[in-house]
Symmetry: C2
Subunit: 600 residues, 2 copies
């Protein structure tokens, strides 16, 4: 059986049984859609992912793009993939009809993208980055600039990048040094160096559009003086595309995502690089942050997808690889059993399932809040959804990256010695996954964002909204007839989060933000564990509804039982861990807080 | 500052302040040794590791051996390394003078090997495997066979392998199929296929000696019919070395350990492969198991070493890489601070330190029990040490592999985006580390070994002995004046382990070994966490003694404070987690126990 990447039954279950995404079509923005159109999109994505992107994954992992006489050359497989990927229409699918989009709910688009990411994260990366760059122009560029670049990006004629990072300014964007000097003709002369620019150079399309942060001469120091520029590899001059002095200085050799080059880029080596200001001067960080939720949800989905493809590979391996005999029947003459017959192998599989499917549920839910934030009928509902989206984004970004890495490691482990070889794929996915805890804000930054901003924003309104969502889930679980213990556990956990947040917020209000944020990593882990428990309760409730509704066929019966089993695992194995984490946060345990640099 | 691999001060602290390894010299077997001879051995190992092995690590990672016209070619760097590595004398250092050894305590030899492993695990692998093969011959081969092969292996003239695994028999050694037919001339005709044979073919030495498992014609089925053979790549015939029909069928492409080839080996493709029986027929597994402790301690040390070199790399990076500003001082005009100034970076460093140095302490302690088991004066002391060695071996093997992998991942994370590139080394060490949870018995097998055999062996005598060691540590901690809370925590944790073991053992005695072993992974994690807490209490006590003894210099003061700080971290952050794990074991939580294959 070939790898399903994501399981179709699971995606359908989350969309239609758990989230009832079909109800989104009642909103005016999605009026042209229906479950049927959703399914058409998903079917095309599944087919392309499985038939075109997935077969190219290993070849692209084995032969990364090279820098050849100042030009980066992509893997030949990308030339076949690119036009078909563009034709799928996902770059602008969730955008308004006015910019060529289909006004598809992000809930559905995100799932469709998940298949492509699971099949070949690097190949999808070219499209994802282009869509992100186009969306920035759509949102903030003045019409002339926007019309020159945005449609070509959405159409895949050119590709785009996000050019933020500089050698001296990784996570610290306020230290961006790239300079922009007004030419007097409405554009700017750009000079500076960027690093880790994914897709920063290649020969896949004739032009590349960098959305880059730079500092206009005389701008204030720090974050308040950073502007957003559109810097194309080739600019128009008298209707012709001419070289714009963007040089690929080098290709980083990465441990994974090998099909997508990561470039060190020099702007203006010859003094002839022009950039076009996007929106207002000195608003670059604000613009970037408005796109950040979207980018972080993409990273989260990538984490889920990379863990999912490996989970399914190890599941199939465990079902078919004979090795050893049951503990109770050690007759050496008996045939060996498939390793899924060993409890410890099932432990590794169930843990992967709980992480992958719990994470997928969270990503779908988060995308749905994004849809509601943009298009719900009442302003209050939009505002509430926006709060939930903001609150859940650091979790949706980080949980799949961190627990997904563990999940990917288990997929290697299930394969035994074979898992360590590149004759099998899990080691490649393990290498791919490691990036997700690093890019678009490291895990440390997500923890600070969650505890320092999100849970305390607008007097805890987001947390109150989450409490409401959890209550609704508890009600649904009760109606479905789930075990009361799970509901009590989740209710208590939710209360725990609220009380703990108050304690920590008071430390911050007392003037000691260092103390407030000391255990932000523990808080993020605790919060994520509770959020995933909420997702598993929802999935368990929907599964129980499915079991009760009518006599399900044996395959549905097994599917639903699996959901209940994974929920049981999460509630018994993971959720109890929050007590230790809460105690650490409360006590302000100070070992690394007070450790001096020369103590290590 | 160049990477220290292991920190000398830490190794000396463990040997002389924590374990008082110099006292071993009072035993007759070690009478020729003293702290001075220990230091000579360590100094040579440190120098060779830092100056010769370490510089070759990256080149060897980048250019793995290839199979070229039936012959595997090693990296050229190995030709320089090999004679100097052999000259160091570590292959036989811990062996008796009678076989050319130095009767050096394993406690010291293991630490010396740790430097070599941290510098270049693959390069050291050729020597470690040869020493293991030689030791098997020393212990079990009849004199003629032994004298032909053992001295050449200890001398590094030839290298050796352990050839256990077959395509259909990975962890399940009872399913070994390689056949051995008596020729009538005292040797056997061998036919079969082996996979994942590290160092199974190469051109570094003119001969390779495989210590292989095979089944003599007519032997009983299963584990009771497996014999150990010595199968050289070239055999002596009339005083000449002639080809012995061992063919390298392929090289596995591995995610790490790239300098040491992993080979698919065919014995007897042309019907002309001869093997020499080692010891008695059908005793192969027993012989292998007698060597297993040693091999697993080597893997454990490798795990510690691989985490250690990455920890030190990330520590140096954190001390020198400027990025961001303190939370309380966000003036963008202020210079950036080294990232070690951020609490969350110190969290990642302290966690690495706790894992690396806690693991190193355990490895040193375990090696010391091996020394005492072999050479303590009184039989009862030898027996007690043997029990402790057996009990701790699965922990010493697995803790560094599993937590070391997490530690290696944190070293990547501390490096941010740079950590994802192979311009820096942490990603290579992360890839190397993954092997240690797989070879020499997977983590799952170690859990079954610990819970199914070790803690219940001889009516729990080993556990009682460990209780005695913990009591001694508590006494030492009290005398040193450490916080009472740590001692109470460890005493309770020790009691927890004892009570839990009884509960689980009774399930096994009641006839349900499946139920007893269902949570062997959780039990192993719980047990390991307690064992490392014991090690940290010992280290904290020795540190406190150091602080009290006389006015320490500032560097020693910082070193001792760091030890106390890491102990605090372990007691506050890790040890409390055992409550959740114990509850899972006790309750017999059955999610993955009852999960059906079609539920996933």
């Amino acid at each position: 059986m070939s790898n399903p990447l994501l399981r179709d039954r699971d995606v359908d279950f989350l969309l239609y049984e758990v989230l009832r995404a079909q109800d989104l079509c009642e909103l005016p923005a999605y009026a042209d859609h229906s479950r049927e159109t959703f399914e058409l999109v998903l079917a095309s994505a599944r087919k392309l992912a499985r038939e075109v992107l997935y077969p190219a994954f290993k070849p692209m992992d084995e032969a990364p793009p090279r820098l050849d006489a100042g030009q980066v050359r992509v893997h030949p497989a990308m030339r076949e993939i690119w036009p078909r990927l563009v034709d799928l229409g996902l770059a602008a699918a969730a955008r308004p009809a006015g910019v060529g989009g289909q006004q598809l709910p992000l809930t559905v688009a995100t799932m469709a993208q998940g298949y492509l990411m699971a099949a070949n994260a690097a190949a999808y990366g070219y499209l994802g980055l282009s869509a992100g760059a186009a969306h920035l122009l759509e949102a903030f560029a003045e019409p002339g600039l926007r019309e020159t670049y945005m449609p070509r990006l959405y159409a895949g004629e050119w590709t785009g990048t996000m050019a933020l990072t500089e050698p001296q300014a990784g996570s610290s964007l306020s230290d961006v040094k790239t300079r922009a000097a007004p030419t007097g003709n409405g554009d700017y002369r750009i000079a500076g160096n960027k690093v880790f620019i994914s897709g920063g150079d290649h020969d896949l399309t004739p032009n590349i559009v960098h959305l880059a942060l730079a500092r206009i001469e005389g701008a204030p120091a720090g974050i308040k003086g950073v502007s957003l520029f559109c810097i194309p590899k080739k600019r128009f001059e008298n209707g012709q595309l001419v070289d714009n002095d963007c040089t690929a200085a080098g290709v980083f050799h990465k441990m994974g995502w090998k099909g997508l080059p990561s470039i060190a880029l020099n702007f203006g080596e010859r003094g002839d690089c022009r950039g076009f200001l996007v929106g207002q001067a000195n608003q670059g960080i604000a613009y970037m942050f408005q796109m950040m939720n979207e980018a972080r949800i993409m990273v989260g989905m990538n984490g889920v997808a990379t863990a999912s493809v490996a989970f399914h590979e190890s599941l199939e391996y465990a079902r078919t690889r004979p090795q050893g005999r049951p503990i109770a029947a050690r007759d050496p003459a008996a045939p060996q059993i498939p390793i899924i017959g060993h409890a410890d192998v099932r432990r590794m599989l169930l843990r992967q399932k709980a992480i992958v499917e719990g994470g997928l549920g969270l990503l779908a839910a988060t995308a749905r809040y994004a849809d509601l934030a943009a298009h719900a009928a009442e302003p209050a509902r939009r505002q509430r959804a926006a709060l939930l989206l903001d609150l859940l984004t650091p979790v949706a970004k980080t949980f799949p990256a961190e627990r997904g890495f563990e999940s990917n490691s288990l997929a290697v482990q299930v394969h035994g010695g074979y898992g360590y070889t590149s004759e099998y794929l899990p080691e490649a996915w393990l290498r791919d996954q490691k990036l997700n805890s690093l890019h678009e804000g490291t895990t440390g930054i997500q923890g600070m964002d969650l505890l320092g901003r999100k849970v305390v924003a607008t007097s805890g309104a987001a947390l109150t909204a989450l409490g409401g969502e959890i209550s609704a889930a508890l009600d649904r679980a009760t109606r479905a007839g789930l075990p009361q213990t799970w509901q009590q556990q989740l209710a208590q956990a939710g209360q725990q989060v609220g009380e703990l947040t108050l304690v920590l917020a008071q430390r911050g209000l007392g003037g000691d933000r260092e103390a407030m944020l000391l255990h932000s990593a523990d808080f993020l882990e605790l919060f994520s564990t509770v959020v995933i428990a909420w997702q598993w309760l929802l999935q368990a409730a929907a599964a129980q509804e499915g079991l009760r509704a009518e006599k399900p066929d044996p395959s549905s019966e097994a599917f639903y039982q699996g959901k209940l089993c994974a929920a049981q695992y999460w509630f018994s194995t993971e959720l109890p861990r929050i007590e230790t984490l809460a105690a650490l946060c409360r006590s302000g345990e100070d070992s690394y807080g007070r450790a001096q640099p020369d103590w290590f």
